[in-house]
């Protein structure tokens, strides 16, 4: 039976047929980040896929991956589209380079994982926290619980990590 839940006013649904996403979010629900590791070339991939984007092999296993990395790019949304996000503007959409497998298989690739900036408990970040984050900020993964069997991975400032003196922010504040 499909998994269904409501998150920020949005109905989320995960179909049983969608086996890769079911496995991915099952780990997320346990606050445990896993990615597929190719059975042939051993490379990790994101987001979940049926075959390996690097070698086309369909065999993979789920392996635990450390949820740490650095902001590669971001957008700060002031005009939300989805109604329930309007109460949380401005919110950040982050594209994060994981430390794991960075610069592989070529220098142009990294596992770039999307998420919002959230507080450690998984709530969309308040404005004073939003203003602290830019390209180069060190972040760690946390989870927003959505419902039974479903959580989505998110990012929060890694307070324990060495941060850049001044992360790069859009020049017109």
């Amino acid at each position: 039976m499909a998994t269904q839940a409501t998150y920020l006013g949005m109905p989320l649904a995960l179909d049983d047929l969608d086996v890769e996403n079911v496995a991915y979010f099952k780990h997320c629900a346990a606050h445990d980040f896993h990615l597929q590791k190719c059975g042939a070339c051993s490379l990790l991939r994101y987001p979940p896929t049926t075959a390996c984007p690097w070698c086309a092999n369909p065999k993979s296993e789920w392996v635990k991956v450390e949820g740490k990395g650095e902001v590669h790019s971001y957008s700060e949304v002031h005009h939300a589209i989805q109604p329930a996000f309007k109460a949380h503007t401005p919110y950040l959409i982050l594209l994060v380079d994981l430390d794991t497998q960075k610069g592989k298989p070529t220098e142009h690739e990294s596992l770039r994982v999307v998420g919002n900036l959230v507080t450690p408990d998984g709530t969309l970040a308040p404005p004073d926290m939003v203003r602290r984050v830019g390209i180069g900020t060190r972040v760690r993964m946390v989870f927003s619980d959505v419902g039974p069997g479903l959580a989505i991975p998110q990012w929060t400032i890694d307070e324990g990590a060495a941060q850049p003196a001044k992360p790069w922010r859009y020049p017109q504040e």
């Binding site: 995960l14 984007p53 589209i81 959409i93």
Partner: protein
Amino acid sequence: MTMPAETDATSPKHLRDKYAIVGVGETTYTRGSGKTTRALGTWAVRNAIEDAGLKPSDVDGVLSYQSGDSTFGTFIAGDLGIRPNFYMDVFGGGSSTEALVGMAMGLIEAGMCKTVVIFRAMNGFSQVRIGGTGARAAAPVSGDMLHSRAYGWQSAGQMFSLTFMRHMYDYGTRPEQVAAVKAIHSEHASNNPKAFYKQRFTVEDVLKSRIICKPLHLLDCCVETDNGTALVVTSAERAKDCRHPRTLIRGVVGRCNKPRTDMHYQHGPISTVAGKYARDILWPNSGVGPEDVDITGSYDAFTFTTMLQLEDYGFCKKGDGGQYVSDGTIRLGGRRPNNTSGGHLCEGYTHGLNMVIENVRQLRHDADDSCPVGPDGKRQHTYDYREGGCRQVKKCEVSANMGWANPGTGSAMVMRNE
């Protein structure tokens, strides 16, 4: 005219100049057309066929593109008495126009039909809006969208901004440089009586408009309008019998991609767009290079998309796009004007087709501005580009259109006159 030496051509140069765009047509750019997409498509196709000097029965191929927001080609064909030997409605928005022109050439080359009309009909303001607003914003999120929409990452501006922001970081691109695209396109639109927004904006106006999602201000984003647009493709031989001087197709590249089409951000640099790959097909196919091009039609869903494509197709050095779009090059009267109609930022939003229409008219030396019409039925262009004046480019022999679907996917086409 003479073309440069045809060196390093890797793909079908034998099709160069063998096909032509013979007719272009559109409906009024409005917000509230009061018409169905079927009516908009019918009018646009009818206008394009008439512009070509053809009858509907001369057309036997129908192609269209849409995102579940339009009418199928068979209805338009039926409305006008066209009996298609081929039709196809494809899924997609930006980048479809040039791709479908290439498909039309292939269809005719394969003997499947002789003359093809391509249309895009949409109520992009009054029915299905582009950002996924309204009822669609509340639709269930499932499958691969769980990795995007669940994060409030769904509209085109939200999706593309990660590319735009990283370009500013990688190359020091400034907000005021990119804002120049809107200012310049608005100057062009002020000389286009059919543009939805004819008002001129300054760089300061853009920077003072409210932030939608950084780095995009409201005025960095295109308009949303209701309109139908269409063009007719046929062989260069048949084009000789049509109404206007021929606009010949030098080369096309369609829906060319960066690696990792499932999620292009997995491949970097993310400040590089599909044009980097498409240019290696476009220029050899066309037998010309950026230096030979007189006018460009670089898709302006956002100010940034114009800049990124001009850069990655090689009109300037990588990273110099901010300089290129703000130093006067792309302005009417400049070295290589871009989107002389005002484009998506000002004329109207059609997912790219109106930019091809504009360049066809420019190549015919027949831009529909306010200049007086002479005894030969053509406008007597003054080349006075002040507000409300002329918008015909004086030396206009070769054009390049660059369509954009997203940072990872693009299409392009080079045309020339005779």
